[in-house]
């Protein structure tokens, strides 16, 4: 390879090649590269046996998708494919002694049947290895072959819920922003992908910055900030039809930080046309804006409590940014975060008990979670130094956040206990601003 490298080629041709490669990145629909950085010895061992299949070869290894889901959760440790020595596809074929010897608590077997016309039907069984007891035996509705990953995530969710008692959140989607290209040739994209990073779809593209994507509670729309006009503006876009509405575009100042109310009827925003960023609530039907804060500080990054009664937000009214809470109808804010030099960008768990935030100490910014049910005890989920944008999964079992490695942004999924972290890396470009979507509706 040394010889061709020495060849002198015109630089612009090179740049064109690079540009083409970069631009092709997300649009090419390539998967994110996944990598487990930690492990959890106490995780429950589960064997997911490769599913038997009939008909043409399948594009998706259903068992592999499920194994990765389980490993990423931190709650389970799935047996590596290479250690799976027998391949039963139904309960009657399981030799339990084999799986006990492999120290597995649970085993999943199944089969993918050709249902004709490009459709497949997946059947699966979950067994307790020690009790030799069937826990689940289900036939999924027929689905297009192209949706097999989604079917696998739904099976993983059912198994997760059966064993842990908590609804699974593998069959969900995530949104994030990519910046691809260099300098003035940067293209920003709002992308929606499966929770494991597969099936990325471009929702919006711009030559100027995009940021702060926020899912509507029904998962059909995303509100986001775009600089395409030169100043920040807030759009609400339907991710299926692509149609979008401009909902906040004050010519003066910031239009930023959209957050949906739990009923999907309102957006909390940060607007600064009044002189400095204040929290407002926008009623989407009437377009009426109601101002909630009134201070000379930066008030931004609002997020609703799950019951819709309160709003958490970032304010530097005490000098440095900290998290505050106030009634959603307005009223005196109270400070919530006290540990660390500064705290910002709250994400609240579905039960309202945990608040994830970016905590800065010196030049190190890490993801911290404050547990209100434990008297505000704080735990750290990430090592820093420039971690941001925490976003809880809808079941609060995991979070997404953005980190910087070298010159590029990468996304991590981390289990809520911080024991398992998985990097989701686009092969090209800079990835940032993750937002975990709600449960999908079947």
């Amino acid at each position: 390879m040394i010889k061709p490298m020495r060849r002198n080629r015109p630089l612009f041709a090179l740049l064109l090649l690079c540009l083409a490669a970069f631009v092709a990145g997300p649009a090419a629909g390539q998967a994110l590269n996944v990598q487990i950085t930690g492990g959890l010895k106490t995780a429950t061992p589960i064997a997911v046996v490769p599913f038997a299949q009939t008909g043409a070869p399948l594009p998706t290894d259903v068992a592999e998708v499920m194994r990765n889901d389980f490993n990423r959760s931190g709650k389970f440790r799935s047996l590596a494919k290479s250690e799976i020595v027998e391949t039963p596809s139904r309960g009657a074929e399981i030799k339990f002694a084999t799986w006990r010897l492999l120290k597995q608590d649970y085993i999943v077997v199944g089969r993918v049947n050709d249902a004709g016309n490009g459709m497949v039907q997946v059947q699966y069984e979950l067994w307790d290895v020690n009790k030799q007891q069937s826990l689940l035996n289900q036939a999924m509705p027929p689905a297009p072959v192209g949706d097999l990953r989604g079917v696998a995530h739904q099976i993983a969710d059912a198994i997760y819920e059966k064993i842990t008692g908590v609804r699974g959140a593998f069959w969900t989607r995530i949104a994030y922003i990519t910046a691809v290209g260099l300098g003035n040739n940067t293209t920003y994209s709002l992308i929606v992908a499966d929770s494991d990073g597969y099936n990325p779809q471009v929702v919006a593209k711009s030559r100027e910055s995009l940021l702060s994507p926020a899912w509507s509670p029904d998962g059909r729309k995303i509100a986001y900030v775009s600089f395409e006009s030169g100043n920040s503006q807030i759009y609400v876009q339907d991710i299926t039809t692509g149609s979008r509405q401009l909902v906040a575009s004050h010519p003066r100042g910031i239009n930023g930080a959209p957050a949906w109310s739990p009923d999907g009827r309102k957006l909390a925003l940060a607007l600064s046309y009044v002189g400095n960023p204040e929290i407002f609530v926008l009623d989407l039907a009437s377009r009426q804006e109601t101002r909630l804060t009134n201070s000379l500080s930066i008030d931004t990054e609002p997020v609703w409590s799950p019951d819709g009664q309160g709003i958490y937000f970032t304010s530097d009214r005490s000098g440095r940014p900290q998290i505050y809470q106030m009634p959603a109808g307005g009223g005196a804010p109270t400070r919530v975060s006290f540990q660390g030099q500064n705290n910002a960008n709250a994400s609240v768990s579905y039960d309202g008990k945990q608040i994830a935030m970016v905590q800065g100490n010196g030049n190190v910014y890490r993801i911290a979670v404050m547990d209100l049910s434990l008297g505000g005890q704080v735990r750290y989920l990430s090592p820093g130094p420039i971690d941001e944008s925490p976003s809880f999964a809808p079941n609060a079992s995991m979070l997404l956040y953005a980190a910087t490695e070298g010159r590029r942004g990468v996304l991590y999924a981390v289990s809520a206990d911080g024991m398992v972290r998985q990097r989701l890396v686009l092969s090209d470009g800079d990835v940032r601003e993750p937002a975990w979507g709600p449960y999908r509706q079947r």
């Binding site: 061709p4 090179l14 100042g253 910031i254 400095n276 931004t300 530097d316 910002a344 800065g360 130094p385």
Partner: protein, 168 residues
């Protein structure tokens, strides 16, 4: 050359080109420490658009800030004075003040901080005789860094307000 080798070659060349272009990008367009202004703004006579390209003071259009601060440092007062005078001399002139921050802190908070810096420059220009109607502040927060290293040298170049003449 087989296909794999060709793909690998393109990849290597791309990495090389990206490395080169990144090096160029690191070079500050203007050093954060301002060179002493040798040519004071003319006390008599009015500025003309040509002075934007030739006047040593007017040519300086970046104001740098300390970490998490929005105070205009003394070394930038002279720049405030000459741009304010230009605004006075040219009532049709318009300036867009683009506020920027370093990478520390969240994106939305930094939008607020960049705006504070833009407002500080706007206030200083008005205090020196510019009119509010000639000034427009836009904050990009940390979205438009001129330098992408993770160190104070780089951060100090990114904590800035750029003075952009949208009408001369």
């Amino acid at each position: 050359m087989n296909k794999t080798a060709r793909v690998a070659l393109v990849a290597l060349l791309c990495v090389g080109a990206a490395a080169c272009s990144k090096k160029q990008e690191v070079k500050p367009q203007q050093a954060p420490e301002q060179a002493p202004v040798t040519q004071p703004a003319p006390e008599t006579g009015k500025y003309t658009p040509a002075d934007l390209d030739t006047d040593a003071c007017l040519r300086q259009r970046v104001v740098y800030f300390d970490f998490d601060k929005d105070e205009i440092k003394p070394e930038f007062q002279q720049i405030m004075a000459c741009h304010a005078k230009y605004l006075q001399d040219r009532p049709m002139a318009q300036i867009r003040l683009e506020g920027n921050t370093d990478e520390r802190g969240t994106r939305e908070y930094n939008l607020g901080l960049g705006e504070r810096r833009g407002n500080a420059v706007s206030s200083a220009l008005q205090a020196n005789g510019g009119s509010a109607s000639q000034l427009n502040v836009v904050s990009y927060g940390k979205e438009k860094p001129v330098c992408r290293e993770h160190n104070e040298d780089c951060w100090s170049k990114n904590r800035r307000v750029e003075i952009i003449y949208t009408a001369k």
